[in-house]
């Protein structure tokens, strides 16, 4: 297992009927790193995860995971991976400990090993005191943590997490981030999907941005941020004339315009020096700019910057995946 790449995929394609979900995806994930697949609902993230975790066969293309071919060596791949999907995959009528012991047995641990591993994981995930409670009585965050723990019983080398933090509150989300960071420190490779730029930025060594079934950009967070505005300074102008003047003065630096609101967006690092500099430059007389605001980039900004058009589906809905039913 001295392979450099934990995941190597090339030319992956998948359609469901007339709907093309993946349209030739290539990517490589280095061992012992976090890889984030960033994209809106319906971009094909879940389908890609299901193909790489051997649950769905691609129509074309292939991949190696943990050194094994996903088509030929399914079983070996499955011994090396774990998948934590968007749906929480633990039984509400079993206790946390029972769920983990069951998964540990299925992963091939002996009874004593399973018991020990369950105890360790429950402690690690802050669930020790809830070990003997039925999962139906857990909070959403606890259930997610247990679900993630259940994916780790077999000590997988490659861990797939499909939107691990969607629907979690901030403390739970931060706890999840900490777990992922710790996982990688133990040598595992984490492949996660997310709709949140901030999450990908915070966790990932490499990010692939997907839209409509294709990878539109790939690189480290720093690489990507150099391509997109880290933050956006939005100037709202006093009238149409000022709008035109300022837009012309900024030229190629304009990242977004909204004529109806007479606003112009320009990249900024958010520092007072830069903001003042831009204001002085475009509005030396102090009359053209009515208000300004600094925005953190959203997924839409990333897509706008990378693809020249907005995302194909709304990113406002965070809980529903509009991909075809994957059953």
């Amino acid at each position: 297992m001295a392979e450099e790449w934990a995941i190597e995929a090339s030319g992956l394609e998948k359609s469901y009927g007339p709907v093309t979900v993946l349209d030739g995806v290539d990517l490589r994930v280095r061992r012992g790193t976090v890889f984030a697949l960033l994209g809106p609902n319906g971009a094909g993230k879940t389908t890609l995860v299901r193909i790489l975790s051997t649950l769905v066969r691609p129509d074309a293309g292939g991949a190696r995971v943990a050194g094994f071919d996903i088509a030929v060596d399914r079983q070996r791949v499955r011994r090396c991976i774990s998948l934590t999907g968007q749906d929480v995959a633990v039984d509400g009528l079993q206790t946390g400990a029972e769920n983990l012991r069951m998964m540990a047995r299925l992963a091939g641990l002996s009874r004593p090993q399973a018991r020990r591993r369950t105890g360790d994981l429950l402690a690690q995930f802050g669930l020790a005191s809830a070990a003997q409670r039925r999962v139906a009585n857990y909070s959403g965050g606890m259930r997610r943590r247990l679900d993630l723990a259940a994916g780790l019983v077999g000590s997988p080398a490659v861990i797939f997490l499909d939107e691990p933090t969607t629907g979690l509150d901030l403390p739970s989300r931060q706890a999840m981030w900490q777990v992922i960071t710790d996982l990688v420190r133990t040598g595992a490779t984490v492949f996660l999907t997310t709709q949140y730029l901030q999450e990908a930025d915070q966790l990932a060594d490499q990010i692939a941005v997907v839209n409509a079934g294709a990878v539109v950009a790939q690189g480290s967070p720093a690489d990507l941020k150099s391509q997109i505005a880290e933050q956006r300074l939005e100037l709202t102008l006093t009238d149409g004339l000022a709008f035109e003047d300022v837009t012309r003065a900024l030229g190629a630096r304009v990242v977004s315009t909204d004529p109806s609101r007479m606003s112009v967006g320009v990249a900024t690092d958010g520092s007072a020096v830069h903001v003042r500099g831009v204001l002085d430059e475009v509005d030396p007389g102090g009359r053209a700019v009515r208000t300004f605001a600094v925005h953190a980039p959203t997924l839409d900004d990333v897509f706008l910057a990378l693809t020249g058009h907005a995302t194909t589906t709304s990113t406002n809905t965070t809980n529903t995946e509009s991909e075809p039913a994957h059953v």
Binding site: T54, L55, D87, A107, L109, Q113, Q124, S155, L183
Partner: protein, 267 residues
């Protein structure tokens, strides 16, 4: 670093070789635990058979003349009817697994579909066996009498067990095929109605002529006739042979189709 070691087990633990036997045993344990803790399932599988028996004996029984104590006549019918009701539970639990993230987790652990489904079938058989015992206990208390010897009892138990096994696998098949637990529930309706058009509750010759042909030749009737005859200690003719043939047929077809359908659904 010691804190994070729990995230990855020791090397020795990672070299497990999961066996099919372990998988099946684990899945059976899971299904049994889940049904034991599901109040609705417990009510359907344990209380309903007893309530139905009391209902048939005390509400309808007085008006039905079968030539003997009605409780002795109706017990096999109640057991078969409840196997039908129980099949809904089985189909729904299989379907819930099929439509829920847990199946992805199982499959990514390389647990076979057969192991998952077997767990549900085993739980179904255990639930039905428990309700059967309970029904007999109550039946004896309200006047059920049997002239059968131990062999008769064993034979009757064998036929019932075969029927329960066949119906459970059929229900599991429904669960694998159905697009949702609600649909699975709906599909099992015909299993619940089949016993009514058999000799379960009334003698077939009291039915209209056009129905008698169906009632005589559907799978439930030989099962009922076998169990009733074996417990009565009266001649059963070829009923047990017919019953076992039906059950084996249903069983083989259901198991085969389940495996095929499971592959299709999860391909």
């Amino acid at each position: 670093m010691s804190e994070i070691t729990a995230l990855r087990g020791s090397v020795a633990e990672t070299i497990g070789t999961p066996t099919v036997v372990t998988d099946v045993v684990t899945m059976v344990g899971r299904s049994l635990r889940l049904s034991r803790r599901n109040l609705e399932v417990l009510l359907v599988s344990l209380m309903l058979p007893v309530i139905l028996m009391l209902m048939f004996v005390y509400l309808f029984g007085g008006a039905i003349d079968t030539g003997a104590a009605y409780v002795s006549y109706v017990v096999p019918g109640v057991l078969v009817l409840c196997a039908g009701f129980g099949s809904a539970t089985t189909a729904v639990s299989v379907s819930q697994d099929m439509t829920n993230g847990v199946m992805d987790r199982f499959r990514s652990l390389d647990v076979s579909g057969a192991a998952v489904v077997s767990g549900h079938v085993a739980a179904s058989v255990v639930r039905n066996a428990a309700s059967t015992v309970l029904v007999f206990v109550i039946a004896f208390a309200i006047g059920f009498r049997s002239d059968a010897d131990i062999l008769g009892w064993l034979a009757a138990g064998g036929v019932l067990l075969m029927f329960i096994l066949a119906i459970s696998w059929l229900a599991a098949l429904v669960g694998v095929i159905a697009r949702s637990p609600e649909a699975a529930n709906g599909f099992t309706f015909f299993l619940m109605f089949l016993p009514y058009a058999s000799s379960a509750f009334v003698p077939i010759d009291t039915m209209p002529g056009w129905l008698q042909g169906f009632s005589r030749h559907q799978p439930v009737t030989p099962v009922i006739e076998s169990v009733r005859g074996l417990l009565d200690g009266t001649p059963v003719g070829n009923s047990p042979t017919l019953a076992l043939a039906w059950c084996t047929g249903i069983l083989v077809v259901s198991v085969a189709l389940s495996v095929v359908a499971f592959r299709r659904r999860t391909a």
